[in-house]
């Protein structure tokens, strides 16, 4: 083994400590780059022992764009649109939180109508995102498309009733068509196109051919559904991706709100996607839970068991679908309050200059790219080849490492569901208990890759079941109040600071702004995938992705399906995760605006 870097040596020492049969080759490095079916550019590297168990893992983002740097010196009204371009998948999240940050800074209270319309657009985003993630990005980690060719149609059609009383797309006629489509695709002389050279037949695929066929039918149906949900958002947003109807102070889509036909269009589309969530998405997750609950690679307890979530999805006055709070160390007996002064960001292993500890507002934002190092890793044929590798001793990612009270935290739908569940949020408790009962899975099973994937579906169901509360309240309010946008002025002689914070489809997102001389003086975004995908911090503590990979047993190191499955379960959004933050160890609380929570989440 030519790879002589420190970590491998450490790993080898560890191997010696635990008496194991002497291996002829020793631990091997495996590089997975690009990780596909995500947003952005991501690499994972693992050190795998001869027993196939991951001994160490590193995750790197390989793209930096520097949008916060670009925001500086610009008119505050332009910045939410720039921030929206952080990501075209979370196409509404950054636009919303950035607009909220400006409103918080300028002390604007937006009209109730605008709050509710923003929620309706947000509901569309959540439903779109979760459905697309499960079926089109994560789905083929669970569903073996090729296996579906062996399915018995009658059997599959009947089986669908086990998971839903009103199954979707699983009539014998429909399944027949799906099967024929795939059969043709599989025999296509040009191969499987985007499905080519994948991991079909891998030993950790657990669904039966019939179950694979059911899920595959939903995969195709979901392509249609996501288009419909995008239309739902475009009704109020003008277009999707990158809707364009939020302004500082409210929304611009007043004509659409006052048009009953337009409102009805939203409602009808909402009901269609709600039906899909309840009878396809829910059913498929229940099916996957049943079949995968014995599969070690997805039931392995997660590496980081700290969770954080923030109130979001306002559906009525003082009524939110998601709660705020923190769960530490998997202790679901209590939820702690978030104290934002305990959030820091570390850049020890991130490609930024961080020598000097500067105040965040003066923080250096220059990249300091040190690149990869020459090394060897396992090629696709199992032989060692020359590659560019991560140097775990140095800097190795464009993502920083946010910490809460010095601890790594997971954010996302699982954190959101757990926090609300433990807090006794009635809507959430009902949904979670029903699911656990139906699948016969214990609560602890939620702390796994499977649990994370299931929680995303439960969050979609929460919105499918209760999102229209915001719609009903909007209709009621429009009868007496048609305000959609508050007025404001930006005083060039004043200095403003503000934050927009709340859970978005991938977890807790916050945007922080400081305005001076009428322009943006400093801008920061602390993004869900940053919490989850960050590299080690100064103490060597790993973030959720990396920690989750350690201890994972891999069947075939040339077919990294287990690695991809774990990483996909977080729904990575890497363009989002890569951001310039303050310098090492500085507290975000220095952005703190008083009162922080009083006015922050008024939206």
């Amino acid at each position: 083994m030519n790879d002589t870097n420190q970590t491998v040596e450490e790993v080898e020492e560890k191997v010696e400590e635990q008496p194991q049969p002497k291996s002829p080759s020793g631990p091997k490095r495996v590089v997975v780059d690009p990780i596909t079916r995500i947003e952005g550019h991501l690499r994972a590297e693992v050190i795998v022992g001869d027993d196939g168990v991951v001994q160490d893992a590193f995750v790197s983002s390989t793209l930096w764009r520097g949008l916060e740097v670009i925001a500086k010196g610009r008119d505050p009204r332009n910045v939410p649109l720039i921030m929206q371009r952080i990501c075209g998948v979370c196409t509404y999240s950054h636009y919303l939180k950035s607009t909220m940050a400006m409103e918080n800074a300028l002390g604007i209270k937006i009209p109730y109508n605008a709050e509710l319309v923003r929620t309706l657009m947000d509901a569309a985003l959540f439903l779109h995102d979760h459905v697309v993630h499960f079926y089109h990005l994560h789905g083929v980690d669970w569903v073996d498309i090729v296996s579906a060719l062996d399915a018995d149609l009658e059997k599959a059609s009947k089986l669908a009733f086990k998971y839903s009383d009103n199954p979707i797309g699983t009539g014998v006629n429909e399944l027949k068509k799906v099967k024929e489509t795939v059969a043709k695709f599989a025999t296509h002389p040009q191969g499987l196109g985007p499905f080519a050279n994948a991991y079909w037949g891998h030993g950790t695929y657990k669904l039966t051919p019939e179950q694979n066929l059911i899920a595959l039918s939903h995969y195709l149906k979901a392509l249609e559904m996501q288009r419909l949900v995008a239309q739902m958002q475009a009704i109020f947003g003008g277009k999707n991706p990158h809707p364009q109807s939020l302004v500082i102070g409210g929304v611009t889509c007043v004509m659409d709100m006052l048009d009953p036909a337009r409102m009805a269009e939203y409602m009808v589309k909402f009901k269609k996607i709600a039906d899909f969530v309840n009878n396809a998405y829910y059913a498929d997750i229940a099916m996957a839970a049943e079949m995968y609950k014995g599969e070690a690679s997805v039931m392995k307890p997660m590496g980081v068991k700290n969770f954080m979530a923030f109130e979001s999805m306002k559906v009525g006055k003082n009524d939110y679908l998601f709660d705020s709070g923190i769960i530490m160390d998997g202790d679901i007996s209590k939820v702690l309050d978030i104290d934002i002064s305990k959030i820091t960001e570390d850049a020890t292993h991130s490609w930024y200059k961080n020598d000097k500890a500067l105040h965040p507002y003066d923080g250096e934002t220059d990249g300091n790219y040190t690149g990869f190092v020459d090394g060897k890793s396992v090629g696709s044929d199992g032989k060692m080849i020359d590659t560019k590798n991560i140097d775990p001793e140095g800097k190795y990612s464009w993502i920083k490492s946010p910490r809460y009270d010095g601890k790594s935290m997971e954010v996302g739908p699982l954190a959101g569901i757990l926090v609300s569940y433990v807090k006794g949020n009635k809507r959430v408790v009902k949904i979670v208990n029903e699911f656990l009962e139906k699948t016969g899975v214990p609560t602890e099973a939620l702390f796994s890759t499977l649990g994370r994937t299931a929680a995303r579906m439960l969050q979609a169901k929460l919105i499918a079941d209760h999102g229209l509360t915001a719609f009903d309240n909007l209709i009621e309010n429009l009868k007496v109040d048609q305000e959609t946008c508050a007025t404001y002025t930006i005083d060039k002689d004043k200095e403003y600071k503000g934050v927009g914070i709340g859970d978005v489809p991938r977890g807790m997102l916050s945007h922080w702004v400081r305005i001076k001389n009428g322009v943006v003086e400093n801008y920061q975004a602390v993004v869900p995938s940053t919490w989850n995908a960050g590299p080690m911090d100064a103490t060597g503590q790993k973030g959720p992705y990396e920690a989750d990979l350690v201890g994972l047993k891999i069947k075939d190191i040339t077919q990294p399906l287990e690695i991809i499955r774990i990483i996909h379960s977080y729904d990575p959004c890497i363009a989002c995760a890569v951001h310039v933050m303050d310098t090492k160890g500085n507290k975000l609380s220095e952005y703190k605006v008083d009162p922080l929570y009083g006015g922050v989440c008024s939206v």
């Binding site: 596909t36 010196g73 990869f372």
Partner: protein
């Protein structure tokens, strides 16, 4: 479109297309078993649906309806063209836009049929398997594939701000390599066409347009994101002509980017009548008045949004009451001023890069837009007096 074209010109064009298609037909077919008609039928569409779609695309390309059967023919030979789609410094919004045309729309069937050989967001394979797919496709379809690129490209001493794959190749290397052997190259979206948001001042990653890193001709399909119709339409145009479409000064296909948003805007009548939204949420906003005074950049932006709209005709920004931000224009983040104010207003002062909004507006003033900007502003000011509601 050249509206003065005579029937004779069209006859010639028609003949050229026919020859081009016949030539394409002679190329080896990728899929001998299934014609596009079969695929369309299998997916529940009739021949009539297909012809309707072909007709719509024909009209979109500003060709007379007599070209519809030829368009249908062209689609049938589309399966000879594999597509490689690369992600550079981007947000995946363009891919998402493409997804919006997904099943069961005919557009997406065409794409399936065309065969997406490499697309990181959608493909199953990761790591080495993904890299192999790319290499195989480039090798196997050398000189025959269409390259579509999403995102700006980090360059100069920050070229390494984007690397892809286990060998750590930069985005620039990867895009350049794929460009070398492509039959045609489309820059999808404003980032790939002009550098986009990451290239806005001070451009920390030195992001550049695709056309900056290859000597081959690049067709720009800008927009943030562009509609899927503009993407498919560009592809169809290539199939028909076998050459670059008529392009404007920014290498945008004229059939899509020939007219200003303002020219076909649904609120144009209000502009002419001097009826403006003065403030978001006011009575004018409820009545759908012109958005010029709250910052619409439609008069300076060339695209077909006002005609094609987004999300299967659901809406577009002007309909949602916001106004155009000029997203298909080069450097629009730096040159279009404040989103919620008219371009000609020089009231707001910004300080970035020592330029400020004043300097930016002045720079715009030097450009060809001067006359338009002054004229539009004058109209807005004068018509306000004429407007009895004022």
């Amino acid at each position: 479109m050249n509206i003065t074209k005579t029937d004779t010109t069209y006859d010639t064009l028609h003949k050229e297309f026919k020859e081009r298609i016949d030539k394409l037909k002679k190329l080896p077919q990728m899929d001998r078993k299934h014609s596009i008609e079969e695929i369309i039928e299998e997916n529940g569409f009739s021949r009539r649906d297909f012809m309707k779609w072909a007709g719509a695309i024909t009209a979109m390309l500003s060709l007379p309806s007599t070209f519809t059967p030829l368009m249908a023919e062209a689609v049938k030979v589309a399966d000879r063209l594999p597509i490689i789609w690369l992600h550079m410094a981007e947000c995946t919004g363009c891919t998402e836009s493409l997804l919006r045309s997904a099943n069961p729309s005919i557009d997406s069937l065409i794409f399936n049929h065309v065969s997406l050989e490499y697309q990181e967001t959608l493909m199953t394979a990761s790591g080495w398997q993904a890299e192999e797919n790319l290499e195989n496709a480039i090798e196997k379809y050398k000189g025959r594939y269409i390259l579509m690129v999403e995102g700006g490209i980090p360059s100069a001493d920050t070229e390494h701000y984007l690397t892809i794959g286990g060998h750590g190749h930069t985005g620039k290397e990867s895009a350049h390599h794929a460009s070398e052997h492509a039959a045609a190259i489309f820059a999808i979206g404003t980032c790939s066409a002009f550098g986009g948001v990451q290239a806005a001042a001070p451009n920390p990653s030195n992001a550049v347009a695709l056309s900056e890193i290859t000597s081959k001709p690049v067709i720009n399909v800008p927009g943030c994101p562009p509609s899927e119709k503009n993407i498919v339409g560009t592809l169809m145009h290539y199939l028909l002509y076998g050459t670059l479409p008529a392009l404007d000064v920014y290498n945008r296909p004229k059939w899509a980017y020939r007219l200003r948003i303002h020219d076909l805007c649904e609120r144009r009548g209000h502009f002419d009548a001097g009826e403006f939204v003065e403030q978001f949420g006011d009575e004018g906003a409820k009545d759908g008045f012109c958005l010029y005074k709250v910052g619409c950049k439609g008069p300076y932006t060339f695209n077909n949004c006002s005609k094609q709209k987004f999300n299967q005709g659901t809406s577009w920004p002007v309909q949602a009451g916001f106004g155009c931000i000029g997203c298909s224009e080069p450097n629009f983040w730096d040159t279009m001023g404040t989103v919620n104010e008219p371009l000609s207003n020089k009231l707001y002062h910004t300080t970035f890069g020592g330029l400020g909004a004043d300097a930016t507006a002045d720079r715009i003033g030097l450009s060809l837009l001067t006359a338009t900007a002054v004229g539009i502003a004058a109209h807005a000011a004068i018509s306000a007096y004429k407007n009895p509601k004022e």
